[in-house]
């Protein structure tokens, strides 16, 4: 008797679990269903931010969020998009591909975002655009990898320059001005690092320089002494580091300790952050990189941006400015698109807009055609050492 009661009890529990599962599922359905229908019928347009908000790259995400929020505040106070207000949904991609796919999925399907700004890192963006492309969601990313130009995704646009523009520019400068011949490469083992190194290698023949070694590290690594001591024995003239500021700051500090006193340079403006100097201190002095933006430039757009940033108590960082530009360009496209995804895409593809980062227009791959300038860290500030051509 006791046995059969037990069995019945077990069955009952099973049944209850199934029932709970069913009820739970339908409950989440109704609540989220309401959420998405409100966005369609209501007076807001939702835009997602796909960026690293936690982890090693969180500062990049925070800067981007500041920029987009600043732009949305301005747009909304100026009347919004055809009378509709812009609303930002923040999605943390943790700078990893699978999280990026998950969070972009969520923003598109559950929040009903019409466009996505981000991500910052190339690999997560490459994975996430496979979700946003088929869903016809505009995706304005800040990845540098040349691979992002080859995706055949009509909805993918890049608001920074492609690596195949940054890399030759900085390589040319190093070869012509700094007269380096033998370069050691140290890059992060991601789409970004690998493709930037490949692009750099392509430019070597024409310039008469050579890479004497190619060392890799994984994002999040803290100790680079193995790679640095190898580079030291090879007597390189300069070291090209492709990575983000937190690792680059560590690399240059450890290079100093290892007695490796050569010129360090990076291909793009992922270096352009006060954090690089805060973390790296004296070690990052003289670091050279190519950039599409100069925060000290005296242009009308830059001054307006800095004024806005100051009013809202936001640090005016390079990535904040770039994200601000992306949001402003997107708003213009959404206004012209009038709520239709394809029209907004066409509007963005043909956009003519003067942003903080210079004129914004996209080629058929969704890339910008601006030319970068060369910058250097001098006395704890970023100084232009060669203007863009």
């Amino acid at each position: 008797m006791a046995n059969s009661t037990k069995l019945i009890g077990k069955k009952m529990v099973m049944f209850m679990v199934l029932a709970i599962l069913l009820v739970g599922c339908s409950a989440t359905n109704t609540s989220s269903g309401n959420g998405s229908s409100a966005s369609e019928g209501g007076d807001t347009i939702k835009v997602g931010l796909q960026a690293p908000m936690t982890g090693d790259n969180a500062q990049y995400g925070q800067d981007m969020k500041n920029g987009v929020e600043l732009a949305f505040k301005k747009i909304n106070s100026d009347g919004g998009i055809n009378g509709k207000k812009l609303k930002l949904i923040v999605g943390d991609d943790k700078a990893t591909p699978s999280e990026a796919v998950a969070v972009v999925n969520k923003m598109i399907m559950n929040n009903g975002v019409k466009a996505i700004i981000g991500g910052y890192n190339s690999s997560p963006t490459l994975a996430a655009q496979e979700v946003s492309g088929p869903a016809k969601v505009l995706h304005l990313n800040m990845g540098a990898s040349p691979e992002l130009s080859k995706q055949n995704n009509k909805y993918l646009f890049r608001v920074i320059l492609t690596g195949s523009v940054y890399v030759p520019a900085v390589m040319r400068y190093m070869s012509e001005e700094k007269k380096v011949k033998k370069i050691a490469a140290l890059f992060e083992n991601t789409d970004y690092g690998i493709t930037m190194y490949d692009a750099a290698k392509e430019s070597t023949k024409e310039l008469g320089v050579e890479f004497i070694t190619a060392e890799k590290y994984n994002p999040g690594d803290k100790n680079f002494s193995a790679q640095l001591s190898k580079i030291k024995t090879l007597n390189a003239d300069a070291v090209m580091v492709v990575g983000l500021y937190n690792e680059v700051a560590l690399i240059e500090q450890q290079a100093r300790q290892a007695g490796l006193n050569v010129q360090f340079f990076s291909p793009d403006d992922s270096m352009y952050s006060k954090q690089l100097i805060t973390l790296g201190g004296d070690a990052v002095e003289n670091h050279i990189f190519a950039s599409m933006i100069d925060l000290n430039a005296d242009t009308e757009e830059m001054n307006e941006f800095k004024k806005l940033a100051k009013e809202n108590n936001i640090p005016a960082q390079a990535n904040t400015a770039i994200a601000y530009d992306a949001a402003m360009a997107l708003a213009k496209a959404l206004t012209e698109g009038g709520g239709e995804a394809e029209k907004a895409r066409d509007a963005l593809a043909n956009i003519q807009y003067n942003g903080i980062t210079g004129p914004i227009k996209f080629d058929k791959n969704g890339d910008r055609s601006n030319t970068p300038m060369i910058m250097q860290v001098q006395k704890g500030d970023f100084v232009v050492i060669k203007e863009s051509e």
Partner: protein
């Protein structure tokens, strides 16, 4: 007699409920909810697998995220590079994880308790580092994306393509039901009871003639195979794998699902997987607080409900039964008769 009838009704109810589960997508219009339900199903498979070794055999492993990863990467590599479909990759993933599970079990299960935990932890870390650093094969930190969807299933004139998340649900549900069935068959078999005996008292089990080591290794292998199957399904469902998914955190997550749901209980696995998956998705809204709240939730659960939610059910059921008996006793005593059960 009445009892028998009662059980018959329950059985019919159960079948109806399972049948109803297949029609669940009809009531859900939001694909994101469907996506989460599919994720839950994959995690149910994982926690069922881990529960076999933790709940039923009493051996704690914090390396099962690695088996999940191996299954996923095998499917991803074969699917992406050789164009194999899910139907080839799934058995291969299961075979590979079972083989590695056997090897790890063979080495690790000679160790006892905390040493086994350490061994599985080391194994999980090694596998994660392999995923991260074998760039040519696994794509390193970039992972592998563009894993093909399962091929369209044709049944006569009916076609079931795999495009939306709704399409994956029946497939995953079938595998979860299969997993539940296999788990039930195992735990109610002589082998399963031998495992329970080992959990209760290893020495006593050995004294009774149970081949303790062999039984443990076998269960560990089956447990790993469950995770391998979940991995293959995950890779073909999400179309992307990257190493951080299968880091130490995943092993802990699966273990927490088992702990929160209640060890040694199928329903517990389902509840644990559901709660943790849903809460982790809900907390996406506050990325900065996500891990904090998630961690707090786990601490509270472990501190106040160490036997999990199913443990709570069991305790309250016991109390209810006792109360019934006492009430009966009281009633009987009142009538001045002796109590018989």
């Amino acid at each position: 007699m009445g009892q028998f009838k009662h059980r018959g009704f329950l059985k019919i109810g159960l079948i109806l409920a399972v049948a109803a589960l297949f029609f669940l997508p009809l009531g859900i219009s939001n694909p994101y909810v469907m996506y989460i339900i599919n994720l839950i199903l994959i995690y149910v498979l994982l926690s069922l697998g881990l529960d076999l070794i933790v709940g039923y055999t009493g051996q704690v492993s914090i390396g099962h995220g690695a088996f999940f990863g191996i299954g996923a990467y095998v499917a991803a590599i074969l699917g992406k590079n050789l164009g194999f479909s899910l139907w080839i990759n799934l058995p291969l993933s299961i075979a590979v994880t079972a083989l590695i599970g056997f090897a790890i079990g063979f080495i690790g299960l000679k160790l006892i308790e905390e040493y086994l935990v350490m061994a599985t932890l080391a194994f999980g870390t090694i596998i994660w580092l392999v995923f991260l650093n074998w760039t040519d094969l696994t794509g390193g930190p970039m992972g592998i994306s563009g894993i093909p969807a399962p091929p369209t299933i044709k049944l006569g004139s009916f076609e079931f393509p795999f495009i939306q998340y709704h399409d994956y649900y029946p497939l995953l549900l079938i595998f979860v039901l299969l997993g539940i069935l296999i788990t039930r068959l195992i735990i109610h078999s002589g082998f399963g009871r031998a495992c329970t005996a080992i959990r209760e008292d290893e020495l006593a089990a050995q004294a009774m003639g149970i081949p303790v080591f062999k039984t443990k290794v076998m269960m560990f292998t089956i447990s790993a195979a469950f995770c391998g199957a979940a991995g293959a399904l995950y890779a073909h469902f999400l179309h992307v794998v990257s190493p951080e998914t299968f880091a130490f955190g995943m092993s802990v997550t699966i273990l927490t699902m088992v702990m929160i749901g209640g060890q040694g209980s199928i329903a517990g696995s389902i509840i644990g997987a559901s709660i943790l998956t849903v809460s982790s998705e809900v907390l996406r809204e506050t990325p900065e607080l996500r891990m904090l709240i998630y961690g707090l939730l786990i601490v509270i659960m472990i501190m106040f409900f160490p036997k999990g939610i199913m443990g709570l059910f069991k305790i309250s059921k016991k109390r209810l039964l006792q109360r019934n008996i006492q009430a009966k006793k009281a009633a009987v005593e009142k009538e001045g008769l002796s109590y018989e059960q």
